[in-house]
Amino acid sequence: MKTLIIEKIEPKRIGELVTVGRILGETPDLLALGEGEVPGTYPRAYQCPETIAANLVDGVADLIQRDGYQVVLLSATTLGSEIAGRLGARLKAPVLSEVIEVKPDMTVKRPLYGGKAVAEYKIQGNPVILTIRRKYFEPAPLEGTTAAAVFNVESPSVVLLSEEQVQTQGVRLEDAEIIVSGGRGMGSADNFEVLREMAGLLRGAVGASRGAVDEGWASQTMQVGQTGNIVAPAVYFAVGISGASQHLAGIANAKCVVAVNKDEEANIFKRARFGVVCDYHKFIPALIQALREEQ
């Protein structure tokens, strides 16, 4: 299958898509978005400084038709979701989003109902546009760099006014081996301080459920779940998180989940490896003290 990856210059994301591309055939070509060196080696690479998907669709559609790509791979991120539907409709191509499994015969799986069910599809037409859910495929190591051909965007319709990167202290959520996440049970924004302290001691990152983000207690970049960050840490501490399936969908590949919740009936205990049924106000400070004693 002649495959094109479209992704920002972020080695882990590109690496995951290279892995998926190799399931379907040889190493794919790449359209790298953003500035900097293009990591990895590809039969053919293009580079475009533009990262606003709305401005890319026309050029990308032409490229796919001109070069006869049969598969287009994107990550299931804001960029991927912004480009996939329009591109699919333009090319009259099937679009399958949030894909979690790919087989060489073009059978793919994706979750439904907040991760409570998984559907399998057989793709018949091509080209096909797939967005791949993060953290389901091991990123291929990208060696060397590729000199990329310049890909230009003509007459952009959407203008970038400003960009705000949320500064994370310490480890980035998506790279963290330990994540300490808080939910509605935290009760207030101030209460997240204990989770930050705990994450600091464990050299991990702090996450949050959608409930906590909607309350304004945590920034949206901290959100873990189906529609937030998909993470796969070694240990995921879920503190005051009930464990809605949409949240569990974001931690499906976490190796060990530790749940701290007052409610012994909370759904999170069905996913947890270790559970502590108690008020987090009592347990987390004790855990922090135990971690301090070890240092």
């Binding site: 709305a54 996939a84 109902y113 409570k116 018949q124 037409g125 970038l160 960050n229 855990l287 003290q289």
Partner: protein, 251 residues
């Protein structure tokens, strides 16, 4: 200013995995039906724009007649009119083609708002497809919208932060949740009044679906067995937990 919000009625998305069952590859019919959660964020955003700019707000859906009583919540929240295209397809191209019928009937819609993704199929595809069919701009995961002399300024939330974008003309925007667009709870009087609003029902159309065959749908098993730790002495439990995590090489 004319705004349309796309709303989809779905089975209760808060049913826990343990209670969830399928019938014919879809959620069993016994679950309560409701408007999807991101769709409600989109409705709330639409109402705020109505209040700020004096817009009219049409609620547009593709589904079955039984959905009407549920969709009326959007009217009770502040929508002006309800437009339902009748049909049962789950195919994003068929859905988008049908939504387009209602939008064309509404005429001169400036802005179409949709939830980030539906609360049943979890796809986030229909709105982008629709934008392409309408030939207009599409931006995903928008949390704030402002209008200034025909130009729109919007805030887009993405994985590592947010950015402000500006464009002119018609657009389809997918709306993400934020503390500012938590859906309002309609007053009883508004719910009663919404029951009397006429609903425009439109006959759906056959459109070519995607060339994809749904082979099967399964419920994955949750195989984790939770080891509950004692909670009498928290210091002891903490040390025990850390020891167990190290023993099993997670830490």
């Amino acid at each position: 200013m004319k705004i349309a919000v796309l709303a989809k009625v779905v089975p209760d998305y808060e049913v826990p995995a343990g209670d969830f069952e399928l019938a014919g590859n879809r959620a069993h019919a016994r679950y309560t039906r409701m408007i999807g959660l991101y769709d409600e964020n989109a409705i709330e955003t639409g109402i705020q724009l109505k209040e700020k700019y004096g817009a009219t707000l049409g609620i547009v859906s593709y589904g079955q007649s039984e959905d009407v009583p549920i969709l009326r919540k959007a009217i009770a929240m502040g929508g002006d009119s309800l437009h339902l295209v009748l049909g049962e397809s789950d195919d994003p191209y068929v859905i988008a083609s049908n939504l387009k019928i209602a939008l064309e009937q509404l005429q001169d819609v400036d802005l179409v708002l949709a939830g980030q993704q539906s609360a049943d199929l979890d796809r986030g595809v229909v709105h982008g497809v629709l934008a392409e069919m309408l030939g207009c701009t599409f931006l995903a995961q928008i949390s704030r919208i402002e209008s200034d002399q025909g130009r729109w300024t919007v805030c887009q939330n993405h994985e590592s932060g947010s950015r402000m974008l500006q464009f002119s003309g018609k657009a389809v925007l997918s709306i993400t949740s934020s503390p500012e667009n938590v859906p309002r709870i309609p007053a009883v009087r508004a719910i009663m009044a919404a029951k009397k609003k006429p609903v425009e029902k439109l006959q759906g159309t056959d459109a070519p679906p995607m060339q994809v065959e749904e082979v099967k749908v399964e419920i994955p098993k949750l195989e984790s067995v939770c080891e509950f730790l004692p909670f009498e002495d928290m210091q002891e439990t903490s040390r025990m937990l850390l020891a167990r995590l190290r023993e099993e090489r997670y830490l």
